[in-house]
């Protein structure tokens, strides 16, 4: 089972002929991901790796190949439009890997998605989603993953790989790993993913890797306290970062006293979520649960 991506995924890669897009498309195919179409405007009619048809638009890929999930590798100036194109074509799940998308572009794309309905956006600036043994829709190194019962959700990319590596080395495995993205505005937040893990039979425990800035972790803690029943373990990254260097002035006003690592750890503790000091400790807690 797992969440978001799996055997029922029919994937289209937006930007399949670009450097990153083609390299990762190849890796996803190697993994056995149901990658059935690619899109690069102007390159319609060609094929990728001799077998995946390339179309000029996402709408065409939906019509001809029945794709239901898209992954975006297009450069930052075009990523916001690529998200909207997928949503307009009726794609249910859009995963935007691209880093460096202007925040207003993301905000507008999310506004469009919310008005139209029927589409979930993961990212931007994320490593993607992977359900080991079923589908890898992202840029994570597949070799470190084992199939299992631990759900992983994180705002970071590379830190997520560290955790997965530790999970595997501890003899555990992952149900689904979701990188929700490191941008200030993202399509899907911790709470959205936790609700899916709550309903997923394969997922028995969850590892949640938060970081400084914003209040998504605090919101998640409130949800966990109120209704999340599975064992969950937390980690907060960026605890040694000096205040003011990364967090905007007015952002701190909206958050009030929320947003600092101390506030996040306090919120987790209040919700009964053990917060580990290191990633290795967190994985150990999950193992000993």
């Amino acid at each position: 089972m797992g969440i978001l991506v799996g055997k029922d995924t029919r994937l289209v890669v937006q930007g399949i002929t670009g450097r990153e897009g083609s390299s990762h498309a190849r890796q996803m195919l190697d993994y056995g991901t149901p990658l059935v179409a690619g899109v690069t405007p102007g390159r319609g009619g060609s094929t990728f790796e001799g077998k995946v048809p390339v179309f000029d638009s996402v709408a065409e890929a939906v019509e001809k190949e029945g794709v239901n999930t898209s992954i975006i590798y297009v450069p930052p100036p075009f990523a916001g439009d690529a998200i909207v194109e997928s949503a307009a074509a009726g794609i249910a799940l859009v995963i935007c890997i691209t880093e460096g998308v202007p925040v207003l572009d993301t905000s507008r794309a999310i506004k469009y998605i919310n008005e139209k309905g029927g589409t979930r956006l993961i990212g931007p600036n994320c490593p993607g989603v992977m359900t080991p043994g079923e589908a890898k829709v992202g840029i994570m190194p597949a070799s470190i993953f084992q199939r299992g019962n631990v759900g992983v959700v994180s705002r970071s990319g590379t830190l997520t790989y560290e955790v997965v590596d530790l999970v595997t080395k501890a003899g555990l495995g992952v149900s689904t790993c979701v990188g929700i993205g490191g941008d200030p505005i993202i399509g899907t937040t911790f709470v959205d993913i936790l609700k899916m893990f709550a309903d997923d039979e394969q997922t028995e425990a969850v590892l949640m890797i938060g970081e400084i800035g914003g209040t998504d972790e605090e919101t998640a803690a409130a949800y966990i306290k109120a209704e999340f029943k599975k064992p969950i373990f937390g980690f907060i990254s960026g605890r040694s970062a000096p205040p003011g260097k990364r967090m905007g002035h007015a952002g701190a006003i909206i958050s009030g006293t929320m947003g600092t690592p101390e506030a996040k750890m306090a919120a987790f503790k209040d919700a009964g979520v053990p917060v580990a000091d290191t990633l290795a400790d967190m994985v150990q807690l999950a193992k000993n649960r």
């Binding site: 450097r19 990153e20 990762h24 930052p76 100036p77 880093e99 460096g100 998308v101 202007p102 925040v103 207003l104 572009d105 993301t106 905000s107 507008r108 999310i110 506004k111 469009y112 490593p127 840029i139 994570m140 190194p141 470190i144 994180s154 705002r155 970071s156 990319g157 590379t158 830190l159 997520t160 790989y161 560290e162 590596d165 490191g182 200030p184 505005i185 970081e211 400084i212 914003g214 209040t215 998504d216 919101t219 990254s237 960026g238 605890r239 040694s240 970062a241 000096p242 260097k245 990364r246 905007g248 002035h249 007015a250 952002g251 701190a252 006003i253 909206i254 009030g256 290191t278 290795a280």
Partner: protein, 377 residues
């Protein structure tokens, strides 16, 4: 990218937001000359930090002589780590009320949000801590922008003077337009002043531009170099490298904000002091790694470097090639520990064997090693 007050006010003036008459100067004689033109005036040191007034970096000058004297006293001084090289000389005004108005991107509503308070002129974070009910918000529909009725309501909820409502709506709409047109992450007016004659003006201005959007703002690039203060950060940003100086002695380089933050935490936890945050991002080439190392080594305090890479988009062998290339021609004075895992990490670590670099697959052991080596152990 942060703009100085005088630059932000240039943008505001261009958008039709009323600002005080004033001139930016870089020496005390210029300040005196500006004061002769303006009359009674305020000397304001330009720095990317708040709390200037309390620290004596904003002063009221009655005469050109005073303006000159205060300017000479501020120029070259350091305020919160920023060396003062520019002053804004502005006409003194008769204040009736001081409000607060800002726009920023709100993570929760995923849209721009306007923030307003009748308690302006002071540090808004203090207001937020002591009387949060005095701060009101308006999430803005990013497809349409704020509507007049919403802004009138915002003004009413913030308990601004009803007589100022029309001016407030006008200023707020223009501020929103500037925010969107320049891809800002923050546009703040504090204080938004009501003068004794009833006029509303932006007496101070703070403006941060979303770095991700600079590619479509050639007009704002003129501010880019001037906006930097720390010379190493300035050089890093010129080269498009994400670098923040932190003041310690262990240089840190990683691929992704998360892993770099995690590495800072780890080094701190093991008793070391990180010198910097440096994220080479995804898909970094050999040339970019070399460039990053050169930037870290510009800091003379750096006594050791920890490179922490987990391969996803970034391949371990590429990073290894970059490190070897960067160090081969260098007379290396500091030890470099390289921790690598993930895509092509084994190939990367193999490439490093036999070099003067210290490969270490375990992240915590790598942190301990670089701390020990930096102390000459």
């Amino acid at each position: 990218m942060k703009l100085y007050e005088f630059q932000a006010k240039e943008l505001f003036a261009g958008a039709g937001i009323p600002i005080p008459r004033g001139t930016m100067v870089t020496d005390a004689d210029g300040a005196a000359e500006a004061a002769r033109d303006l009359g009674r005036c305020v000397v304001k040191a330009q720095a990317h930090a708040g709390g200037r007034g309390k620290a004596g970096f904003i002063k009221l000058a009655e005469t050109p002589e005073e303006a000159k004297q205060y300017s000479a006293g501020m120029l070259g001084q350091t305020f919160k780590g920023f060396v003062i090289t520019r002053l804004l000389i502005e006409e003194a005004v008769d204040v009736a009320a001081e409000y607060y108005l800002a726009i920023t991107m709100d993570r929760a509503s995923k849209s721009p949000v306007m923030i307003c308070s009748a308690a302006g002129g002071v540090d808004i974070e203090d207001v937020s801590a002591s009387t949060p009910e005095k701060i009101v918000n308006l999430p803005v529909d990013v497809a349409f922008g704020p509507f007049d009725y919403e802004l009138r309501d915002l003004s009413e909820r913030a308990a601004l003077d009803p007589k100022a409502s029309r001016q407030f709506v006008d200023v707020a709409k223009k501020l929103y337009r500037t925010f969107v047109d320049s891809d800002a992450s923050l546009a703040e007016i504090n204080p938004l002043m009501i003068l004794k004659d009833g006029r509303m003006i932006a007496a101070d201005a703070k403006f941060d531009v979303d770095d991700n959007a600079l590619f479509r703002h050639q007009d704002l690039l003129q501010y880019k170099e001037e906006a930097e203060e720390d010379p190493i950060e300035a050089e890093a940003h010129r080269q498009d490298v994400t670098y923040v100086r932190l003041g310690g002695d262990i240089g840190i380089l990683g691929n992704g904000a998360g892993i770099v933050m995690g590495t800072l935490d780890m080094v701190t936890r093991e008793g070391g002091r990180p010198a910097n945050f440096l994220d080479i991002g995804g898909g970094a080439s050999a040339a970019k790694v070399k460039q990053s190392l050169d930037i870290i080594l510009m800091d003379p305090n750096v006594k050791g470097i920890l490179i922490n890479v987990f391969g996803g988009i970034t391949r371990g062998d590429e990073v290894a090639k970059g490190v070897i290339e960067a160090t081969s021609g260098m007379d290396l004075k500091v030890p470099i520990v390289v921790r690598m895992a993930g895509t092509r990490a084994e190939e990367g670590l193999k490439l490093l064997e036999g070099s003067k670099l210290v490969p270490e697959p375990d992240p915590i052991l790598a942190a301990r090693k670089v701390i020990a080596l930096s102390k000459g152990a």
